[in-house]
Amino acid sequence: MRRALLILLASPALLAAEPAKLKYNRDVRPILNEKCFHCHGTDASHRKGDLRLDLRDQAIKPAKSGDIALVPGKPELSQLIARVELPHDNDDVMPPDKDGKPLTAEEKAILRQWISEGAEYQGHWAFLKPERSPVPKITDPKFTLRNEIDSFIAERLQEEKLAPSPEADRATLLRRVTLDLTGLPPTLEEIAAFEKDTSPKAYETVVDRLLKSEHYGERMAMQWLDFARFADSHGFQTDSSRAMWPWRDWVIKAFNDNKPFDQFTLEQIGGDLLPNATRDQIVATGFNRNHRLNGEGGIIAEEWRIENIIDRVETTSFTWLGLTLNCCRCHDHKYDPFSQKDFYSFFAFFNNIAESGTIQGSSNRSGGNSDPVIQVPDKEEEIELAKLRKKIEAAQAKVTETQLQLPNLVASWEAEMEKPEAAKKPMWDILPISEAKSQGGAALRKLPDASWIAGGRNPDFDIYTVTAPLAEGSFTGLLLEALPDPTLPNQSLGRAPNGNFVLTGIEGTFSAPSLKKPVKITFTRAEADYSQKGYDVKLLLDKNPKNGWAIDGNDPKKRLERNAMFTVDKAVHVPAGATLTVRLLHQATFAGHNVGRFRLSTTDAEPALASIDGTGGPPAAVLAVMKTPTENRTPQQRSELEKYYRASVDSPLRDADYALTAAKAELEKYDRIVPSVMVMKEGPVRDAFILKRGEYDKPGDKVSMVTPAVLPPMPKNAPSNRLGLAQWIVSPENPLTARVWVNRAWEKFFGYGLSKSTENLGTQSEYPVHPELFDWLATEFIRCGWDMKAMQKLIVMSATYRQSSKLTPALLEKDPENRLLARGPRFRLPGEVVRDQALALAGLLVPKIGGPSVRPYMPDGVWDDTSKYGDLRGYKADTGEGLYRRSFYTIWKRTAAPPTMLLFDAPTREICTVKRSRTNTPLQALSLLNEVTFVEAARGLAQQMMQHGGATPEQRIAYGFQRATARSIEPVALKQLTTGLKQRITEFQAKPAEATALISQGTTKADATLPPAELAAYTTTAAVLLNLDRVITRD
């Protein structure tokens, strides 16, 4: 049927009595493509009978059997005709019966006629450079010719003996063009102004106004986000968050600035490689970082790096070239002249990004942008960043300046150190332990020197818990002195019969009246003046509870006082009245190895300076330097001394160093809250290979960066990189780029592209309905400097676009899809626009442009019903303006996307989508009738009706109707709506609780000056309006 319909539309000649000469591309290629090339086309691996029908010189050559597939001019001698005309149950029939793709009688007739006419081939139309045909001369006065588009359309309508439709009424036209260009409905003021404006330029004035509106960029971006598979999450498994909205805002601005499409392309594909690339140009490359990123546990990074690149190849080729290069991932293309080598040569352009393939520099669970990224501060953040950087500069300057003093500072410090009064206060303050308890029942007793000794029962694995007051101030470390005692076995230090001990843990906490709960002290460093081999004191801090510190207490020569020190990383602040609790753990495998006698001390010295002997002075190496006379010191010695001094001695230089470190830390912290965006950045060059069967671990031949062979080569001066690829894409020689853009623009305004397959202009694409117009538009796009606004203005200014969309049965029969355009286009609004329009009509819309994604109302459990992973869970709606922003700012979690948008045909944004379906389902009805957004919007519209619509129900309904549809309501409809409204007013008056319930939906408050029962009834009538077919349709 596709064929039949196509012929019906494409080839009026066939319907005439005299068959006109066929065109290969229009009439024949689609048949061969669909029914023959799968086995007799480009893919060598699937070729049957060694026959190629895609190349004329092959098809007209005799086969081994002597048969000739095509004998030009002689269908009766052509094997192709013989085979296709066999009965379907014959084993030799072509296409084989089992393929389920029999040729129709019409198709067979076409093949026969084509061979009779000489079996001429043409290259695929979309791969040939567009040719600018002369604009047809139309003289018939029934056609309004506003620009070239109309002439081309009229020529075809004349052939079909169809007349154009009259121009739509002004209100309809204004609503149509406003929704198409901005995605928002016209206001009543705009409608009135347009209806009043009698100048011939009235419509053009409107179009120019709309193209200047900031909402134009939003409407354009809405579609571009589908192409770019833009989302706020990574898309696989945990589907955690990312922030790509700065890229989205770049797109909006680029459209609003009317950045020419070639520049728009260069920047998104290779902006980072432009000479002196600006930050904006780098941000633009986020286009090719919008793909999903896998971070699932256990994945093989290279596998997913390859997938990311393949996604870029697919997305780039769908978006700009309308090509399905993805088919060549595993094998040569079955229909199009692209090889697997072409695919991986294209792949090579994207192969050198500095990326690992998985989520990196952020987390699979908690989300974040993955390298490479670029920071995108706003103005305020820019100022703050500058301030912080300045602070660093100032601190650095101070350091540099103070540094000059270093030799002097060291010298005076050395002099100071030699003075007797330099004897410092002791580093360790003995801890006045007030209580010590043994968990295992040992008796702990205090000795006069503030040490404690254990006696009595020696439990297997004891824990001592001691408490002591802790002075206010700072705490940085704990010293444990293990002391020998005559009462201990062998007069040693431990309680084991051999005199040893193994201390396996030390824990500290302090509590204070001002603290809600005790603070745990985390010791990070342990040092001892002696450790037994295999029982280093450091083991005491490791995770294994059985490891610990021992001191060879069984060795008579080693029964000496032993000290161990435990320090924290950063000083802990101790409030007034604190109590310290320390637990000494003995949980080694050896029973009874408990410490015998001990004393504890604390310190507030810098952790780095703390030492067991409590001198706090320089280490031996530094002391040695200090003992060397100044003039004899080597440069190394000097530097060692200075280094020590700088790090450890309180001095103006150390203050300056600290200030610099702090300033840097401040910037780093702020950096983390400044938004960033993932971008393209070249890393080390990687070799690219053809991947056998498309598998990441099966490299075949090496390939380099080359564009597909069948298309014109890269421009001469184009560099061999992504920028060069982009230059090739927008080169005027490239036959596809302008066509692809024009075709999709046409689809947006008319419902279908000039070639219906806007997603694919390869050989399987539909032959265009208006090939000359198509080519003319493509050349015009390039001629006008890739000016997107100019092209759209051209389309919406045409008489073709401005026609009424009224359908007649005859027209429906002849052209159900309206490809010939004898009438105006009519179709349902995209999901985003359905919601945006409702908010606008209700007076609720917050028309702010750009910024981080927002969280409007969502059904309960939207993220949690199917996932317990990732940071995008527990959806919480915003409370303020986030509820009323345009829909395409709604946060998009790919694995659980906003349900209403999915119901209205939005893609999931997991892959590049260039075309949406347009369905009509009961679930859409339920959403429009019952979802809180639309109920609140109905109340908003009801308030508008009551506040501004006039005094009577009739006036108010008419006002609401015009607000929603731009048109005046017919009397019959008005009567019906008024009757219903009045009934419901009465009903709600009898049921005030129901009225209140209905008008309390949503977070905005109902206008308290309006009677609740009436407002509730108007809300139901406004809901009726918002659900009308003509409201959710642009016609």
């Binding site: 009519r826 679930l923 139901t1020």
Partner: protein, 480 residues
């Protein structure tokens, strides 16, 4: 509704059916989420290709990948090799996930669960499945499933859509597209999800698993919510009762009808009927989920969880109620089967979630005469390794992902009952007989529903796309 535009549209649709399946059905589906059986039975209809064995499918997807050697594929001889390293001759250099590829050893972990044969067919089942053991003669266990993906997201996407990457329609969407709906008031493809008790924080699910890919979006699965309205936005807003809703719909319909008469767009007429359908769904769905009139013995048979909405048991009961209402494709996803560590405890939890309700569903359908034309599939996205991930002890082990073989079972319409199909090696590591690829399984499912999987195409990007890609062979050995 007798507008000439509609009559034309109808004729056009019929003509399209006759010509070419691929473009045709898209146009034919034209906004009808719910086509009725009358249309489905029309002789002009392309699908089913032949008399189907099953009219509907209940697919009980076990997400996370159940361990085959602890449930369906006994390897008692492994006890002799306990803790020995997996022989290189078995592993054959095949790739592992990076969760275990760094392990120094791959100690063989025999299942600690006992197996016995059940039913006349002598199907081996683990002691973890005492209830299923009572319906062994309804089951066909396939032990030789294999897949291509090694991580959950791509693997489950592959099972559901025939591709590891996003973008393709799910199996239910294909069935909805090919067969339409047999119920006027319910969607053709319903999905329900539940969290497992074996591993509460397990692999998430994704919308794409029941998405429509490039098919028109009315074919996407309608996921019943576990809280609030089962179907999104089903309830009228507070303050609007059913008579008032009726009145509002009448006003909408009247105005739409007038527009239709003056503008003639068939979409307007479709919209009128979709609003009527929505109104009917507001009755049919609450009726569907209201299980208060189920007899106590039926409720009891599904186990105690049946009263807790959102559990696998509750969903199984709803599945039966959906089957009774002729919903074409009913799919349950039960999460929690990803047992990298602590497998014995976790799998006990999962089995206690699923064993009894699955069994009850089979018996319940049978008793109502629905089992013969309902296809049931129970299985996950890949298998698990015989070697232990992490430390192996006498009572504990974990298992990593294993795509090279796994088990699942089918029951109901068209299935060879009481049989076991396929065989793996001693280590349940490689398949030694009758391998079944995911595409083969999907081709077989479609066959049972009356569809030749090579014929159910949709033209996308110039290609005839299908669920099974360019592969897929019917597994004749599992057919009755």
């Amino acid at each position: 509704m007798n507008h000439p535009a509609l009559q034309f549209q109808d004729r056009l649709n019929r003509r399209i059916f006759l010509k070419n399946s691929s473009t045709a059905i898209g146009a034919a589906a034209l906004g009808s989420l719910l086509q009725d059986e009358a249309a489905a039975a029309s002789p002009e209809r392309y699908f089913p290709n032949f008399a189907p064995k099953a009219k509907r499918i209940i697919y009980l997807f076990q997400s996370g990948a159940p361990s085959q050697m602890d449930l369906f594929d006994p390897k008692p001889q492994m006890e002799k090799h306990r803790a020995e390293d997996l022989p290189a001759s078995i592993r054959q250099g095949q790739r592992l996930t990076t969760m275990t590829s760094g392990q120094k050893a791959f100690p063989v972990a025999p299942s600690i669960f006992k197996f016995a044969q059940h039913g006349q067919g002598g199907i081996w089942l683990s002691e973890l499945l005492p209830h299923l053991s009572t319906v062994a003669d309804e089951m066909c266990v396939i032990r030789s499933m294999f897949t291509e993906a090694i991580n959950h997201d791509p693997a489950i996407t592959f099972c559901q859509t025939g591709s590891q990457l996003a973008g393709r329609p799910s199996i239910g969407a294909w069935l909805s597209y090919g067969l339409g709906s047999a119920n006027r008031d319910l969607p053709a493809y319903v999905v329900m999800t539940s969290f497992g008790t074996g591993r509460r924080e397990d692999q998430p699910l994704y919308d794409r698993l029941w998405g429509s890919g490039f098919l028109p979006t009315q074919h996407q699965g309608v996921r019943f919510r576990n809280a609030g309205d089962p179907v999104l936005f089903l309830s009228n807003p507070a303050g609007v009762d059913r008579p008032m809703r009726r009145q509002m719909l009448d006003e909408i319909a009247a105005l739409n009808q007038r527009d239709f008469e003056s503008f003639g767009d068939p979409e307007t007429a479709t919209r009128i009927s979709q609003y009527e359908m929505a109104f009917r769904m507001q009755m049919s769905v609450p009726d569907l989920v209201d299980t208060s009139k189920e007899p106590q013995h039926v409720l009891d048979s599904y186990g105690p969880d049946v009263k807790k909405p959102g559990t696998f048991a509750a969903n199984c009961l709803l599945a039966r109620r959906l089957a009774e209402r002729d919903v074409r494709c009913i799919q349950l996803f039960h999460m929690g089967w990803d047992h990298h560590g602590g497998l014995p405890a976790a799998i006990r939890g999962q089995c206690s979630d699923t064993d009894q309700p699955t069994t009850a569903l089979i018996k319940d359908l049978k008793q109502r005469g629905l089992l013969d034309d309902t296809l049931i599939v129970w299985g996950g996205e890949f298998g698990r390794t015989i070697y232990s991930q992490g430390t192996l002890t006498a009572t504990n082990y974990g298992r990593d992902h294993h795509p090279r073989c796994y088990s699942l079972f089918m029951a109901g319409g068209g299935i060879k009952k009481g049989t076991t199909y396929g065989e793996t090696d001693d280590y349940s590591y490689n398949i030694v007989r009758d391998p079944v690829h995911v595409h083969d399984l999907n081709a077989t499912i479609m066959h049972l529903l009356g569809i030749n999987h090579e014929r159910l195409n949709y033209k996308f990007q110039g290609l005839d796309m299908r669920l099974t890609g360019i592969a897929g062979n019917l597994v004749k050995g599992v057919l009755a």
